[in-house]
Symmetry: C2
């Protein structure tokens, strides 16, 4: 792999990670986009779909359909809220809690595999780079859309 652009480097690392994680996800019964929703709901019980879309910066439509799947799989429930009939309150079922625990454990092992041979400093540095790259793009995007409008 001799890529010339960071764009492709990032793609390949991400893509390989998803590929590596696939068997585990299949075993747990989750799709590749679902763990993040699971973890957010675990950390914020009774949150709304909108919160998920905002936090992960994905389309509410994607959230809506993933919740459909996760509800059908028995990992979450959409509970009606008397006060707010527009949004549902989301929470994990027992199976959802269990799936989340499995995922978290596996995810930690995966991170360990990915960072094999990295020193503690390098890990911190890598995380810092990823955050900085993310923020640079985010800032640029905000500027450009603000300017264009």
């Amino acid at each position: 792999m001799m890529e010339t652009t960071f764009h492709l480097l990032l793609y390949r690392a991400f893509h390989m990670q998803r590929s590596y994680l696939r068997p585990c996800l299949r075993e747990i019964g989750l799709g590749s986009g679902q763990p993040k929703l699971l973890s957010y709901i675990a950390a914020h019980p009774n949150c709304r779909p909108k919160a998920l879309a905002d936090y992960f910066e994905i389309d509410p439509a994607a959230v809506s359909r993933m919740l459909d799947v996760m509800e059908k799989s028995g990992f979450i429930v959409r509970r009606a809220d008397g006060k707010n009939r527009r949004s549902a309150c989301l929470s994990l079922t027992e199976a959802g809690e269990e799936a989340f625990r499995s995922w978290r454990a596996h995810c930690q092992r995966e991170d360990a595999v990915m960072l094999r041979g990295f020193t503690e400093e390098e890990r911190a540095c890598f995380a810092d780079f990823l955050v900085r790259a993310y923020r640079n793009l985010q800032d640029a995007q905000r500027e450009e859309t603000a300017c264009g409008k």
Copy 2:
């Protein structure tokens, strides 16, 4: 953004990058998966679909369908090869060459934006980290599938 796992860090950086690049791709008339195919075909004229699938480690089915789109968009042509009637020879049209040049230029600008505030050493380090992470996962995957079989 205060993620606890590298898994999510990588996802967010990748996702933000794709989001940042979207307007440019729309302008050129390319889908998000097409630039990499374009660049490979530019570097390897008359290559086969299989080579694309192998190089980028994606499913041949995805390649097949993206080529359909790119052919319909007028960026590539599938030329029959008398010797080998199973695969087609792929090449860029003039429009394809032009799209590739636009993409490459924009991609360089994007990398510059993403790496704003990075020193030269940090850039090299970041690239190295991404390659090492990729290879760690690749090796682990090979081991596990070899072992499982």
